[in-house]
Point group: C2
Chain length 752, copies 2
């Protein structure tokens, strides 16, 4: 655990600059507008350790697979988010000397991410020889105009002598991905346009042998300043620079604005169209003031918070945590573009690659259902439907029928290359099916499940039906050789979670097949023999259970382990994934993230309190929560079991996971999909929100440390506010038709 930012309700702010924490600072001050995003790296060159990273949604490169030992079935490439052409670059010279915070003397440092308005500000006062200049950088990525990046630099001479100022504003294609497998560069510059006060760069991703698309990005910069353009510049084949110069007398202040339009071939089908769009959009924003641009952006953020903010009284740490969660989630994805998804690091780093993991369906879908319009979640479901071809390919790679959705992907085709994950962590296919059910249950909208969804379900079911085998000895269907959500176990047999999800998927698909239109049924082509086989699997699926302990067994053999609780691990060996050899982790009973408990969370209404209690009590003692996705689920279950202190402890861990660098790996980027955890813990956990038979249920409690908490929730054309304080829970209908909800077993009517 390491906390480098101050605890404030709406801001991520620090007045310290520690070069050793530079990457961590960058991760934590990332900005995004769904279309593009960036780490909080400096505008100007920094000669110390840094991870400069800007990422454009859906722009990726198929990096040739690198492994130690090839295994049959490995994918040919790993889809990497491409570190984009750097368009925020801006170097400042004072009396001819470049600012470089790795070397210069400076004071009054402040780095401030305003989450309410999505604005990043950095200021400091720098001394360069006789000159003393107060510097302030501001930047935002507009959510009003997604192609727009706006920067403002304010320089004030706070010294006693005149200072010559030069600003080099650049678009620089000399960037690389740190995680490139073969140290290749992913961008080729196609064209540059260099004018005195403006410039543009058109760059294309390098050709690849895998037949995946090349992407082109076009970026144009415009500037608003009273400084004078200088003809000479540092432009070269890879970057375009506009230079501006002037003088600041003591006490003088000047501002320098940079606006960049970023368009990509994802939206335009030729370089000409790309340039035309870039020019047109640049012209549009050129006439608007900084304030107008900013206000349009800030208003949308205000609307988002209006709909979804969670307020917590009496615990600023908890308050900051949940806001940071929602802020980074929204920065990554707000559902505008059905071709995009929620990458594990969003726009905050390169690690892991891919745009889509099962995190989306398992963790993000329940949250987006509660805080955004249903169309946002529906887009996430459509994303998978559109990638069915890739999923067929993946199943075929393993010699199986139907569709296997990938562990990691951009285009539906599996990218990951650890056999125990790629080939074996197949519960993901069930999670994707479950999200369809979850969406339908929450929204009441059957239009997806009866159409596209039924196709997805059918093909997933075909995969499961081929992937199970019948054990003659046990007279039951089994699934051997899998990795469950607990990735600290590999290649196990009969993972309860995988088996129950496979069984459930087949059952649900059979139900849906009874409801689809005759045309759709014909299209799906599931005949009676196939249905009969599926029903047989449903009826005779093996689900490991231990009678003595009254628990579902994570997988065959789990109970034969050396069952010592986490408390028996010496402190200095935690986290075990940074201290123990992989084999030791595997044969230990320690659980990275909920596995049986993930299943109990999914089907929480299907188990008795005794079942939930015995499973929670048993598995919790072995869980190390070394996955960022783990604590939230346990928090919800703890709340369900009235283990309130445990629920709160786990809330804190999930909500401040990155803010307090719990897993010691936030330098690589934020755990964006885990940003769902705070919301799940508060809404499903503390407030006990469930949807049963189309009806909202709550069973709230107030954490002891808190004065109150409140949140707003979208549900079937209503916006409901829930406020829980020491007097109890208060419900208010903010918008929509009257509705009856259930509060701790009692019906409550809500109307405006």
């Amino acid at each position: 655990m390491k906390r480098i930012f101050e605890v404030q309700p709406w801001n991520i702010v620090t007045h310290n600059f520690n070069p050793d924490d530079k990457r961590l600072q960058e991760s934590m001050t990332s900005l995004g507008n769904g279309y593009m995003g960036m780490r909080g790296f400096f505008e100007e060159d920094y000669s110390g350790d840094t991870l400069n990273g800007i990422y454009l949604g859906g722009v990726w490169y198929p990096d040739k697979t690198r492994v130690g030992w090839w295994k049959n079935g490995y994918p040919e490439y790993f889809g990497k988010v491409v570190n984009a052409v750097n368009f925020i670059k801006m170097n400042v010279k004072i009396n001819g000397e470049k600012i470089d915070l790795a070397k210069d003397q400076f004071s009054d440092f402040e780095l401030n991410l305003d989450m309410k308005q999505s604005l990043l500000t950095r200021s400091f006062t720098i001394t360069k020889g006789a000159a003393k200049i107060a510097v302030k950088f501001e930047r935002f990525l507009s959510v009003a105009q997604q192609e727009l990046s706006v920067q403002r630099l304010t320089l004030k001479n706070v010294g006693s002598s005149k200072a010559a100022i030069t600003i080099d504003s650049a678009i620089d294609a000399d960037v690389k991905n740190e995680d490139a497998n073969y140290d290749e560069r992913f961008w080729n510059v196609v064209a540059t346009d260099q004018q005195t006060e403006t410039g543009s760069v058109l760059a294309q991703t390098t050709p690849n042998p895998f037949g995946t698309p090349q992407f082109t990005s076009a970026m144009e910069m415009r500037h608003v300043t009273t400084l004078k353009p200088v003809a000479v510049s540092d432009s070269n084949a890879k970057q375009v620079v506009n230079e501006f110069a002037g003088e600041l007398a003591p006490g003088d202040e000047t501002t320098f604005e940079k606006r960049v339009i970023v368009v990509t071939s994802r939206d335009y089908d030729s370089n000409d169209a790309l340039k035309a769009a870039m020019n047109q959009l640049s012209d549009q924003v050129a006439t608007q003031s900084y304030d107008d641009l900013f206000n349009a952006h800030a208003k949308i953020w205000a609307d988002r918070w209006e709909k979804s903010d969670i307020q917590i009284g009496g615990d600023t740490e908890a308050q900051q945590g949940i806001r940071f969660n929602l802020f980074e989630l929204f920065s990554t994805y707000y559902g505008e573009d059905a071709r995009l998804n929620i990458g594990p690091k969003g726009f905050t780093g390169e690690k892991y690659g891919g745009a889509t993991y099962w995190d989306t369906e398992a963790f993000a879908v329940p949250v987006y259902l509660g805080i955004t319009d249903p169309s946002v979640t529906r887009n996430l479901l459509m994303y998978r439907y559109k990638q069915l071809d890739g999923a067929y390919h993946n199943a075929k790679q393993q010699g199986l029928k139907g569709a296997l959705f990938p562990m990691v992907t951009f285009d539906g085709i599996e990218c990951h290359n650890e056999w125990e994950i790629t080939f074996e962590e197949i519960h993901r296919n069930g999670d994707i099916a479950f999200a369809i059910y979850n969406y339908t249950r929450y929204t009441g909208d059957t239009s997806y499940v009866l159409n596209e969804g039924s196709k997805v379900l059918t093909e997933i079911s075909r995969f499961w039906a081929d992937r199970v085998h019948f054990s003659e000895r046990n007279q039951s269907y089994m699934i051997h050789g899998v990795t469950g959500p607990d990735e600290y176990e590999n290649n196990v047999d009969n993972n309860w979670y995988t088996n129950i999800l496979a069984q459930w998927t087949l059952k649900y698909t059979l139900e849906i097949l009874d409801q689809v239109s005759p045309e759709q049924a014909k299209e799906l082509g599931v005949n009676d023999a196939e249905k009969k086989q599926w029903q047989d699997i449903v009826d005779r699926m093996y689900l490991p259970y231990d009678k003595d302990l009254n628990i579902f067994v994570q997988h065959d053999g789990f109970l034969d382990k050396d069952l010592k609780p986490v408390s028996a691990i010496p402190e200095d060996q935690l986290p075990i994934n940074q201290h123990w050899s992989w084999d030791k982790i595997l044969r230990s009973p320690y659980i990275k993230q909920g596995d049986v408990l993930q299943g109990i969370w999914d089907f929480i209404d299907d188990f008795t309190p005794e079942q939930k209690k015995s499973n929670f009590d048993f598995y919790e003692q072995y869980t190390v929560h070394e996955s960022s996705l783990s604590p939230a689920i346990y928090s919800v279950l703890a709340a369900d079991l009235h283990y309130e202190d445990k629920a709160v402890e786990l809330y804190e861990r999930t909500a401040r996971l990155d803010l307090d660098n719990y897993n010691n790996d936030t330098v690589d980027g934020l755990h964006v999909t885990a940003m769902t955890g705070g919301w799940l813990a508060v809404v499903q956990g503390f407030a006990g929100m469930r949807v049963r038979d189309g009806k909202l249920h709550y069973a709230p409690f107030l954490p002891k440390k808190w004065d109150h908490y409140s949140f707003r929730q979208v549900f079937r054309d209503r916006l409901i506010e829930v406020d829980v304080d020491q007097d109890g829970a208060h419900f208010k209908l903010i918008d929509g038709e009257p509705i009856t909800i259930d509060v701790a077993g009692k019906a409550v009517e809500l109307s405006k």
Copy 2:
């Protein structure tokens, strides 16, 4: 299966040259003298596909580990056999044009490996413009003088016009390893010496960051020829060339001899000493004729064959197979140097790296015991003793006590980097213990086991005692998370073979501890508590067994599989390792090489015929023998069970594995450790040789196809000849004191 060489009893010969089979030809015509070896690549440059490879025993490079995803505990480097400086290079120009068989027209091609004398000959008649020259290359690596390589080139003008001849003889350091992880070159040239008729190259392996030794090789070439030296040459910073020229009138013949001395820093501690040794050895051989050099070499090979040849009558395929086995084994290792071991590809290719696998102890030790002086095997045991420090390191990497001998190594430190192998295929530690027992049982020599061996056994036992865990639920000791010899199962629990070997090792170590001297016991420091713990593990080790089938179960869950026999796999899906996704292989019941049956082979006298039969019958049907080490063991067991046809079928597969390219991977090099298979099948299988209580037992049968077979066997200072024909088995004492042996239950006295 692919056969590209003719079937002859003593030769590997072909009259075809197919460029598509070039690498396969090269593997199959490899030469070695234990000290160094090489693939059968061409002396002259060849512009087509080829894998030039010369390897010097014990000269290796720590190649930085390359993996897709790092796992804790992975080794930092993979020790690779370094492709040595090419000292056999010899280019021939005819009328100024270089010979290149990829482009030239030629006839009368013959490639001939004489196994009796270890001589490789290649001849052809080439047409270059008006010239027609018969070319013959001969080469051998002397076993009389291990640092010596001898080549002879004979050129005869068989055309009708005069031909100008130029020969460029070179030592060329511009070589690389195809399997280098980062495309690095492993050699730096330190010094070259260029004279008109001689030359030398001193090269050192490049520096490495891992602290392992750099190796230096020094090579000097001398020539014997009537051609005239030419001053101008193609020498450069990486190679030294001596050029010779002359003319051949029609009908004229000339010979050109090249002798190279190869010394390395393994034997000399300074470059000066290296050069001095090189010069001295070069001088020594300079005065000897080709015939003298060759005869000294051939005599030693004759002695080896005298002691160990297996003769098979009536089946030349079988005869050629067993001779090829023994020839390549002896070329790799004949025990002269206790610092060396038997790499899986010997000197025939680069794949796999490392010098030592458990193959040595499990498969090679029983063979070397039977055909060489006990000191050869003792050297193999000493090799492990000397690497104990590395084995401590490996155990520590996994957080465990004692010693874990590596899967792959040069210096004792683990090199391999697949977690399921590196960390989990730990049965190897038991195999190394078992080899100590095997040596002691066969030779009757207790000097190793009571001294160095007791240390090795104690440290291995400490590893096992820490690696097992006690299952409270089962009240027994278990070993979770292992890979058995059947590598088509990974990360399984309670692999019967691993568990029984661990149990046996502890039991055997306790026995040995009772026999060691008080000084040695003190040195080992095993106290009563430790002994008690080991005894408890011996007493309560869990060994999976199925009562209904009366079989030992390969591991927990094996019997839950979809148990279809190999015969159910469509032909076009074999070998499965070239057709199936890894996960499909893992969850299938198919066995790469014997696992339970490997254990039954080890402890063959400890099981009843019924137990052996039920296990063999059960597991054989699921075994695909896709490991080169597999068929021999099954052949022995089949013979033991009187399944004679099965035994012979499996003999053919093992003895001709590379000759017939059974596993379709001989292009990479030969399966050197699997060359033990033919001997095991004949001697342990067909002849039923066992050692029980210090006495030799036989129970021979004659394969139906064969007229007879005979072999010689070394046993406790005797050389015994066994001859089996249609009249029965005949035993003869060739050398040593009289001895009583047991033949099919009857005592037989042998004396000279």
